[in-house]
Symmetry: C2
Subunit: 458 residues, 2 copies
């Protein structure tokens, strides 16, 4: 697939240079817009514009909506006002709003200047919804029906207005006050007699979201209910737009990326990796690195305070990395499981008791397994095989007891911190491995040195 794309980008570039425009047009006209957009990535700037101008109007607009922000911006800057108007006219309103949100002010001005006043008013309205709200991802291009229509009337309306709608498969029945009364699918329209009233076949138990609902909540509703589209209503239950499943899918993927980034102590970014500059990547990564570095120095303080004991038994230092890493991993496992389950809605805050009870049992199983493996390893490999006589049974016992208790604390902290974060309104995802590791390291060392003091009398 990849090679095909590359090959055709090369080929199409050559054909454009040779002015074989009709041929190029006949090739790409059958492509899916997403594939043409991918092709644009591999074409030179001049070729991009040439190819774009060859596309039929509708396909051009569909392709444009699929492009990355920087390519869109470059194209707009090369467009005549006429071309720009044509593209904007053909695009769905939610895509236009997405475009406007990404473009710099000068480009936005030009876009708005080239839309008719009615569209401009709608765009401005859509732009007013908070960034992460249902309102910001909805489109107003839906089919609305009236309860008194017959199935036949409905089809007439769909045929007349459907061509510009983002989906026609779910139609929305509204009253005179624009209140959402019900939905009717084209499937039930098709399977009902033509003289049947919409009010008789519409689904009145409508699941809808509000304009201010978080877009991630909306996406999860799609996951739960398997809808193709979902109505968005305002505070007076008036229908103002719909969200389609393709946009919900994008929201879900963005949310997953954001969660994964946060779990790895990175500030989320909108752009893809190769499109993010070096400086920007640095800016997204350095705050957490600095914060975690400062926190980790507390762990250093703990070592400093046991400096004298350590000097008398340096062998203890050899196991510090293993204890730190193992406990960090154990805590990270628990925290990531809980963060993901919270995000999927598999667990609720009220489950905290059950979760802690489960994690304590898991942690003891894990701790004992690790300690046993480690005890054997220390005595067989470190002492017998490598002949390190400093590794006594008591030292091994110290390390193993530390593992059991520190893994226990690690898992408990790992499972409670994300829930605590959610409780106080933070994103649980920041309580993932890096943060947990820093806390767990400190605790593991305190446990280690205390057990050492008790057992080895240092």
């Amino acid at each position: 697939m990849e090679n095909e794309e590359l090959c055709s980008a090369q080929l199409i570039g050559d054909m454009l240079d040779e002015k074989r425009f009709v041929e190029v047009r006949s090739i790409v006209v059958d492509f899916n817009p997403a594939d043409i957009a991918a092709l644009f990535d591999d074409l030179s700037e001049t070729h991009t514009l040439m190819l774009f101008r060859l596309l039929p109007k509708e396909l051009a607009a569909e392709t444009f909506a699929e492009l990355e922000g920087d390519t869109q911006e470059r194209l707009i800057r090369s467009f005549s006002d006429n071309e720009l108007r044509e593209v904007i006219d053909e695009m769905y309103l939610d895509d236009t709003v997405d475009l406007i949100e990404e473009m710099p002010a000068s480009v936005v001005k030009r876009i708005l200047r080239n839309t008719d006043s009615e569209t401009r008013a709608v765009i401005n309205e859509l732009l007013h919804y908070p960034e992460d709200s249902a309102g910001s991802i909805m489109t107003i291009e839906y089919v609305d029906l009236k309860a008194g229509m017959t199935v036949d009337d409905a089809f007439t309306r769909i045929r007349r207005t459907g061509v510009d709608k983002e989906t026609i498969y779910t139609c929305y029945v509204t009253g005179n006050d624009r209140k959402l009364l019900g939905t009717v699918s084209v499937k039930s329209l098709l399977l009902s007699p033509t003289d049947c009233l919409i009010s008789d076949i519409m689904e009145t138990n409508v699941i809808s979201v509000r304009t201010n609902d978080d877009k991630e909540f909306v996406a999860h509703q799609f996951e739960k209910y398997d809808f193709l589209a979902m109505p968005v209503v305002d505070n007076e239950s008036r229908l103002v737009g719909i969200v389609t499943v393709d946009d919900a899918l994008d929201v879900l993927q963005d949310e997953n990326t954001e969660d994964i980034e946060k779990m790895a102590a990175i500030m989320p970014s909108d752009k893809s990796y190769l499109r993010t500059g070096v400086f920007e990547t640095w800016k997204n990564r350095i705050p957490w690195l600095l914060l975690l570095m400062v926190s980790a120095t507390f762990t250093g303080q703990i070592i400093t305070s046991f400096e004298n004991s350590l000097a008398s038994m340096v062998i203890l230092t050899a196991y510090v990395p293993m204890i730190m890493d193992t406990c960090g991993n154990a805590g990270g496992q628990a925290s990531v499981t809980i963060i993901r389950s919270l995000s999927l809605g598999d667990i609720q805050m009220r489950d905290i008791g059950r979760i802690m009870w489960k994690e304590s049992r898991v942690s003891i199983l894990c701790g004992v397994t690790l300690a046993a493996a480690n005890f054997i390893k220390m005595l067989l490999i470190d002492r017998l095989l490598l002949g390190n006589t400093d590794v006594s049974v008591m030292v091994s016992l110290t390390v193993c007891l530390t593992l059991v208790s520190a893994v226990f604390f690690a898992k408990l902290i790992g499972c409670t911190l994300p829930i605590a974060a959610k409780r106080i309104g933070f994103d649980p995802a920041v309580m993932a491995s890096p943060f947990i590791t820093t806390i767990v390291d400190a605790i593991a060392l305190v446990v280690y040195f205390n057990i050492a003091t008790m057992l080895l009398g240092i």
Copy 2:
């Protein structure tokens, strides 16, 4: 929402006890199947069966398909053969296959005994596709049309067969040999004259997947092309089924969960957190913990080999946790970014040069920032404020130079290992923080002790 659900589970349980069946039925009959399924989770076992028996046949089957495996199993065990047959008859075939894959052998036998021989044959065929393939998630319930039909014929066919199809909105045009010739959407059917031929309006440049394609690949195609359904063909390009967007969405979410689990060094599990037993959770977590613990002991060996130098300058030990954590975090950031970008298709293996060049520059920016912050902190806080005279300028310099070089290595290793893993056919997700941390820790310590030997002459 949550409270509502809880409240209604309680309420409905009480109503069932009071035998107010008609009332209960009239309440839940308007619920969405996903909501009834959620209700079942909060009902007692007897109430579950009582409520299930009150549901109309179709709603019962839809609800059944939404239930968790253990609830499904419990219900089947209480069903009469007749009830079981009714549920299976109403369910979509892909849901039946999912059910069979999850149930123990005895239940599977009963299910198969209660399906007619034709359905049984199809189920057996579907069960033969590899677990993660497109074939395993497809359904065979689609609308097929012939190229010679008119729009009117098509509607007649949809009306006659559509009620049992998982989607009717994309229809598939096949030749006599079942070869897929094109697709036509109900939207274009509705917007075309009724005497128009299907061959004139069908989309012939069809994007399809093969039965053996990985289901995650299929899901990503949905993300790319915004389809509602996607045709699945066999090796001879014959249409054998379709995958619908709701299933693609589930695959995508499962994949994300699996990636996140792997990144946290957990073996992926199919079940949700609270439904996984303690022993099973332990089994999913302990292999990586053990493996990483063993790897971390190499880090211990490095410390052991510098034992004498350390004994002469114990202050160096105080900065070991901070150096290990910081480099682990820096490497983890790079690896997770690369893993996610690979999974989203934002980067390809051929981009490795660009990636390494970018990461080296980012790592130097990060390293220098961290070193500068650390230098100031060590001299101002550790030395002046806390009065630790062991923290000399040379010691600070040692720690800071270590940070710059080790962060550099950490980021380079973090970005190359996931790509290398993919190259040799492993899942890049296993090369996330825990694994990277273990490697990076060892490298960071070697760098630290070598710089210390050079600068401090220990």
